[in-house]
Symmetry: C2
Subunit: 340 residues, 2 copies
């Protein structure tokens, strides 16, 4: 029993009869507006409205051969970094005449794979995915189906897939270089969970690279992995600060973790930055609202969303295949980090 | 020219030939797994995988009469309140065997109307919408198409539509009562934009109701409307504090505005709460991370998401039509508010 099927779904024929035009005219009104006179279009759209007619996927796809729908899959809706970039992505798509449908994979690769198929099945003409680390079978599937796909929030390391993103490792290495140049020699790291997350892995690798390039032993770097939330940041901070030789700076994989660290520091009666410095990554609004404000890596999330939309539509409309772009990020020095 | 159409889309026939079974068996493997032996299913799924076959919407809908897809339209992805509730909504849907597709309307009623049609056209079996204030034509359309719909983040005032939400007006009135009882007589209000936003309107109405019920003149309430962002909150705070008789408390329409107010206070050299108190609404993580932490109204966003998912699926699967639920909210007293 199909519980959601209404008794009478209006068809294109119903609309044509109501508007006194041919079904071909109805179809043109919906798909190639410029070919129909304004007067006819108004009559047809009035009938569409009144009858509650919705061109279904196949009818529309057959008529126009296009769905004008883009799918995006993000790891979580709960972090402002994706929200902000995606909002800009959608706004740009809308200007270009495309709709956006979003799914969240909860950082589960298997769920992401399901959602990719689901979005393709629902007519997505192109996809935005976050990061590059995923099962080769997914890329093979997208290739076979010829689904234009842009990766964001990372630069694909061998540049094999089109991306609009930035180099997480280089960015975090730049911040770690700065921290070490400011005299810090006892660094605690609160990293996001690395398994299946190339952005988190890249950021941690950047800190390690910087540390080693300054001649220090990797074993002296205290690292805790935790999910990207305030609570995780707080707990990891507490653990790192329980060491005999307390870190003088806590470098965090993102601003959310850093916010958790700062809150916990206050709870523990520790002053940031004078008892311990804290750094973040992303430069979401939170970074300027916590006290002291966070030294962090500024990522142009809205620009990334806009450029990813333009790049994806260029791919879909076959204007260009060479669309990859690495965006500049920058270190923002604020009150949460001081030199020794 | 259909640019995104691959040269050869594999069909159900291709899969059947590759797996050496009938097309009916392929269809059963995709839609009624339990009716096919494990061995056959593995063979078919291997062919599905290898050929990159994706059952398209219509074929699947016809075979199974169900899409198991839910659509949600939120005003913005940029506010954590929707993100958090929606993440819980999706997790619960997933447990119930449904997928979620999300669109964001950027607080534009016209865009929301388009997105509702788009989601229905792509096979959404049910919808989650935010608030109740929208064109009657949209409700008529949903009725005609018999699309089960649940409203969240508000309680529909005449209870005409199923909702899982809370009473924004009563909640904010409770906080305003508290503020007035604590001795505040000069209240500045930073409200979200009210046009088309019943939640913002309800919250402002709650403050006005409380103010008048204490015998004060509505004209003595200084109110500024601004978009829900940090910058808007900061600018409005600055304006309100420029009055000859400065407010002793700034009540904000949500935590984001309150965060903007607190940041601006610090910039202006004003101490919160001793120079001026600030209150928020929502109790997102931000509320505990700013300094001082925010007195606010706690809304159970994750619970709302979970219960909305269960309610919507009850409607779709016709288990119950009486699914509306008003959730309890509570006032959380933190350091940003002190008595006079």
């Amino acid at each position: 029993m199909p519980p959601s099927a209404p008794p009478q779904i209006p068809t294109v024929q119903d609309v044509a009869i109501a508007a006194g035009v041919s079904t071909a005219t109805v179809s043109r009104c919906l798909n190639e507006k410029q070919k129909v006179s304004l007067k006819t279009r108004e009559r047809v759209m009035e009938a569409v409205e009144r009858l509650g007619y919705t061109p279904n996927f196949n009818a529309r796809a057959m008529a126009a051969k296009r769905s004008h729908t883009i799918g995006a899959i993000i790891p979580t809706m709960e972090n402002a970094i994706f929200a902000r970039g995606l909002q800009a992505f959608q706004e740009t798509l809308h200007q270009l005449g495309y709709n956006l449908l979003v799914s969240s994979s909860a950082y589960q690769p298997k769920l992401e794979a399901e959602q990719i198929r689901e979005l393709v099945a629902r007519g997505a003409e192109g996809l935005l995915l976050i990061g590059y680390e995923r099962d080769q079978a997914i890329y093979d599937y997208l290739d076979r189906r010829s689904i234009p796909t842009v990766l964001a929030w990372a630069s694909s390391p061998d540049k094999a897939y089109p991306f609009v993103g930035f180099d997480n490792k280089a960015a975090m290495r730049g911040l770690a270089d700065k921290v070490i140049e400011m005299g810090h020699r006892r660094i605690g790291v609160i990293s996001g969970v690395i398994a299946g997350n190339d952005r988190a892995a890249g950021r941690l690798a950047g800190i390690k690279e910087s540390w080693q390039s300054h001649g220090f032993d990797i074993e002296n770097l205290a690292i805790i992995e935790t999910p990207y939330d305030i609570e995780g940041g707080g707990k990891a901070f507490e653990k790192l600060m329980a060491a005999d030789l307390k870190p003088t700076v806590i470098m965090c994989g993102n601003d959310v973790l850093a916010t958790g660290a700062i809150s916990k520091a206050r709870e523990m009666g520790l002053g940031v930055p004078h008892d311990v410095s804290v750094t973040g990554f992303d430069d979401i609004e939170l970074a300027r609202c916590v006290w002291p404000p966070l030294t962090t890596v500024h990522v142009p999330h809205r620009q990334m969303g806009r450029e990813a939309a333009n790049a994806l539509i260029d791919l879909i409309e076959k204007r260009s295949t060479n669309i990859s772009r690495e965006l500049d990020v920058s270190i923002v020095m604020r009150g949460s980090l001081v030199g020794l």
